[in-house]
Symmetry: C2
Subunit: 127 residues, 2 copies
């Protein structure tokens, strides 16, 4: 039985959500032991919100849950990948499909590389 | 000019190395401000080793550097993706192409989903 090493990160491990078909990285968040267990048992991605200090059942507000098709763990057990099916088409609260929607140039400038797929205010009720 | 928010993670942000062609996630590590700047200026992936507490110029020992083709940053600036070309064919010290070479089943069992592409002792001189 393999469990992430939560001690190394002060109770948290890294979780990466990746589209199960395209391989696009949709978001990165953190998990604690409860989030990990609930993800495995429910098949829906659950994280730990560092800012709100509570379990974050992705899609609980918006309905845009992440159905977990596969879970991978890395060589030193401190990072996991959730291969997910993103309901609603977008993982990011900005309405972008991926939270990683900005490219950084070598001089530190950023440029958006995609457009939002939904309007956040319509999904969340506010910006 | 956009810089990762290193404060939120106690001086560290998350970095995800993704194959720039296939989209496979190769590894996840952490960066501090120095690692970030050196990555941008050299075009080679540099991380911060939490265990050794020093800059980790990926491939410095093995020669298996990561050439950075593109850098993405997430919506709240605490996580970046390096789209890399992995020299030597493997990112993992175990010889696997990706550090995420184990699948976790819902009951917590793991199974290897790939075979190593090199023998670690030949690349690093020891296991």
């Amino acid at each position: 039985m393999t469990e992430p090493d939560f001690e190394k990160g002060g109770g948290l491990a890294v979780a990466i959500a990746q589209d199960y078909r395209s391989g696009e990285v949709l978001m990165q968040a953190f998990i604690n032991a409860d989030a990990w267990q609930e993800t495995l048992s429910t098949g829906r991605a659950v994280y730990w919100s560092r800012s709100r200090r509570q379990l974050w059942r992705k899609g609980e507000t918006s309905g845009n849950v992440q159905i977990v098709h596969e879970v991978l763990i890395d060589c030193d057990n401190d990072s996991v990948i959730y291969k997910v099916e993103q309901i609603g088409g977008a993982a990011c609260h900005t309405g972008h499909r991926s939270c990683f929607f900005r490219r950084v140039t070598p001089d530190g400038e950023t440029a958006e590389i995609s457009k939002p797929v939904f309007e956040p205010e319509k999904v969340y009720g506010k910006k």
